[in-house]
Symmetry: C2
Subunit: 462 residues, 2 copies
Amino acid sequence: MAARERLLVVGGDAAGMSAASQARRLRAPDDLEIVAVERGHHASYAACGIPYYVGGVVEELDSLIARTPAEFQERGIDLRLRTEAVEIDPGGGRVRVRSLDGGGESWEPYDHLVIATGAVPTRPRLPGADAEGVHGVQILDDGVAIRRAVEDGSPRRAVVVGGGYIGLEMAEALVMRGLEVSLVDFADQPMRTLDPDMGALVADAMRGIGVKLYLGEPVEGFDTSPDGRVTAVRTESRTLPADLVVLGLGVRPASGLAREAGIETGPTGGIVTDRRMRTRTDRVWAAGDCVETRHLISGAPVAIALGTHANKQGRVAGIGIGGGYATFPGVIGTAVSKICHVEVARTGLNEAEAAAAGFETLSVAVGSTTRVGYIPGGAAMTTKLIAERRSGRLLGAQIVGEENAAKRIDGLAIALWNGMTVEEMTGLDLGYAPPFAPVWDPVLIAARKAADAVERDMRSGS
Amino acid sequence: MAARERLLVVGGDAAGMSAASQARRLRAPDDLEIVAVERGHHASYAACGIPYYVGGVVEELDSLIARTPAEFQERGIDLRLRTEAVEIDPGGGRVRVRSLDGGGESWEPYDHLVIATGAVPTRPRLPGADAEGVHGVQILDDGVAIRRAVEDGSPRRAVVVGGGYIGLEMAEALVMRGLEVSLVDFADQPMRTLDPDMGALVADAMRGIGVKLYLGEPVEGFDTSPDGRVTAVRTESRTLPADLVVLGLGVRPASGLAREAGIETGPTGGIVTDRRMRTRTDRVWAAGDCVETRHLISGAPVAIALGTHANKQGRVAGIGIGGGYATFPGVIGTAVSKICHVEVARTGLNEAEAAAAGFETLSVAVGSTTRVGYIPGGAAMTTKLIAERRSGRLLGAQIVGEENAAKRIDGLAIALWNGMTVEEMTGLDLGYAPPFAPVWDPVLIAARKAADAVERDMRSGS
């Protein structure tokens, strides 16, 4: 039998711990030692649950933690919290780690390294951005800090900066906590991953739950009190008093450690891997928010921080290290979110992304209900499809609606994944019964309208 | 301009009126006269709404009627209710029709004929099957009769014969009306379109709402009172007293009229058409429950009575008659149903159907929840996938679960439609957010387990 090998995992969240767990499933402790280092207080947690913890939907922080260090220990995975990797030495096959609780530094050798360092929240380089009371939303410790501020500090007014998924979800959480909430974004719409017409529906919904929206207003700075606490958010047009500020400006891959070690990163800043999640550097794998992957429709590299990708990629890396074969094929940009009663979903390319990728497109947006009209409880939904001119190939889809609307994106995502045309989609055999769908499912109606648009465009002969 | 043509439509429900409406959209009244005959009191209605009308979820019968004769008249469609087609003369291009309200008979000429005669409910050839108090469920008039019996006759005990979708939905409706309900089926499980293990989950759910199930018991007859009313349902093992009996034994294509005219029907009894919905007889089209279509996975002809197919086929026929081109590609057997809080869905082939089509299969059934564990309101669901041995191609899927479970079948149906393997499905980019799905969507978990099963089977080398 070969000598026992050592797997070192840097980063103890979804991607890292999936890789560790999968490798362990395939290789026993006497064949593969597994050590994972994580600089935070928690590992294997659900960052996407933070807004629900802040809003009080989730009572206990522990509910967000999938597995404790003790549980990993039982499976033969040595997970070390509050331990930060500070340097990778690929030539020497070792990583320098530092105990954040005063335990000094050491070099940890590896035969296989998984980099799963996640993402870092974008912080604006603006005066006051680091003031007390200005919170990012990334790790569980951020959620703890915001909830503590809400429960102990009795803040009255909150300002959320950034109208992406996390910003909107945090705005809702703070509304649920009884705060007056304003949301500021430099763009003219929330959720720029949607087209403007669909984004406008989301804006209406946010206003409907009482969030004040200030769109098209870049933040210019943060006012602070003499003791260094944030007191207001300043834009070009106004000053918004704030007892609490949440930054939801998106994240970028935390790839600095890898880059400094000469491990290749791409145009998105994410670490470059092949479909088995191997970096260009020998014995080094990477997975999760720190990597870039391929967008299967545009063909372009993208970095999309999402737990579902991190889990899949970590699993693929772990299978590879375990001696098996698995691949991560890429993404098509599927995302769903729920803001109070409003559900939002998208997949593929939006109109701007499609244009940037060189596609000419035709779009249709169709209003419908989630059930047959005569069954009570049906809700409104708008389905938008974006198809390529001439070929009619589906390039993207967006849904804004109420209960039971958003998960319909999965069917559209699978149609897109398989390269279906909107004409082909009109024949799809989807589930029909009065409590679930009108006799013409919203997806089929949208496909028909899109197919009509493609045909009209062909006839116009331009 | 050519002489004005005449379209005659036999049958005024979903398929017939879709064909009429679509043809009208494409051809003006001075180019195409459209006459539709329907022998019932209603046209263009939602038969799938009957259980909801009986149960009282739908208050008014009119809610089930999509369009009135007057509305069709306005669009230049001459819809004649209570008018039955009794003979087709394809050589002469005419149909003999009879007014059921005493208006006599006449021959109606056509240039294009659409046969949309629907389906007839299976009635057992058993003593007492035609007794008063024994109801089929097919046309709106049946729904009216059952609801009247419930509201005026104060029945206490109902027996439903047949455990398919309609039988289960009617059983629920009668429970909602406060009746003691028994359900009898000759098979050992309800919903034989599901595999036995999934059917058992449905049986549990039916018992949970108080329906007594007598499975594996063929009905042998119906007892009647001296005045000819049903008093009990007899099986081999027992006599079930009944004030009301509902037959939910399925339907077969109402193709007799066509067959007598020499129009080809197939092994299912349904009228044979091409993908444009043309029969083998010149100038005669057919659509809806009276036709047979191709099952895209088994390749076999099937007759599936479902409003969504009828609407699509009618539209395709109408486009063809209107001078356009559209096709109905076939079906994959997707169906959904909701019985109280239990949602049921299926697509493709079940294990028995796959075996009959010559496939060897591997199946997995995976229990999961519809949401992340820490979000309240998640519900249990079981997802079953059936994959072909060796190729790993998805052949069928079944879901039994609670809220928000069933419509996930659409994604599986689209994967199946596109010939995906379960291995390919493990990489799918589906919508993830805590209120909608666990980080591993039930569909992805099931795909992974199925892929593992395919791999294990290959390794076993048999």
